[in-house]
């Protein structure tokens, strides 16, 4: 597992609980969400992104994720810093899985804790959108009849 700690929290929360990690192991969504529960918060919003079986008529058999691991962790850390500037949030945890994932397995977890839920929802949506745009991770889709590295952003 690759892990870095956020060494420069942007808010007055000196005991920042932020984390950004990659792992080849299965993700425990509830345990990840529970790692960020600051005393000042009242809500955590968690995205559980998992492997979809059907995309329109195409049946996915499984996915293989690959990452440029050190750069991916750095980009995730930058996203968290940017999210903290835009939203009233207290802590963020992001864990992305790599390797082979079966249908229904969790590929990414983003948990955002905030004093009030609205900021947590907005920040979580912004973070997944940006993660899919800039964090150097790629998925190869093995579907019934072929396989392809997904290269577009749709």
């Amino acid at each position: 597992m690759h892990e870095t700690k956020n060494q420069r929290p942007k808010t007055e929360d000196r005991q920042s609980k932020d984390f950004f990690e990659l792992t080849f192991e299965p993700l425990d969504v509830g345990a990840i969400a529970r790692r960020i529960v600051p005393e000042t918060c009242g809500a955590t919003v968690t995205l559980d992104g998992y492997v979809r079986q059907f995309t329109k008529d195409r049946e996915t058999l499984y996915l293989e994720y690959e990452g440029y691991e050190p750069m991916a962790v750095r980009e995730m850390e930058k996203l968290v810093a940017q999210a903290r500037e835009q939203f009233e949030i207290a802590a963020v945890g992001i864990v992305h899985r790599l390797g082979k994932l079966e249908i229904g397995e969790t590929s990414v977890v983003i948990s955002v804790a905030a004093p009030h839920r609205r900021a947590a929802f907005e920040a979580c949506e912004w973070l997944i959108k940006e993660l899919k745009r800039v964090v150097p991770i790629w998925k190869k889709e093995i579907y019934r009849g072929g396989e392809v590295w997904i290269e577009d952003t749709s």
Partner: protein, 79 residues
């Protein structure tokens, strides 16, 4: 000077390489370094490419230094 070039996903499949070392002349800028790499692997022209230098997205006008880590990859698709 020598630099490392990393490939991932579709660019690793297209080139058959995951990591190579190439020689560049001093004062090479990233835009020229990446033109050099694509010229070695013309099959990369079939892809829309992104470039990084030392684990940061490249703007194109950075000056490459000996020992730098370059990377060539397609649009990301995590999540």
């Amino acid at each position: 000077m020598k630099v490392q070039v990393l490939f991932f996903g579709a660019t690793a499949d297209a080139t058959g390489e995951r990591e190579i070392e190439i020689d560049l002349s001093d004062e090479t800028r990233t835009v020229n370094a990446f033109q050099n790499i694509v010229a070695r692997f013309p099959q990369l022209e079939n892809h829309s490419l992104l470039f990084a230098v030392n684990q940061e997205y490249a703007s194109g006008d950075e000056v490459i230094r000996d020992g730098d880590e370059l990377a060539v990859f397609t649009h990301v698709s995590g999540g």
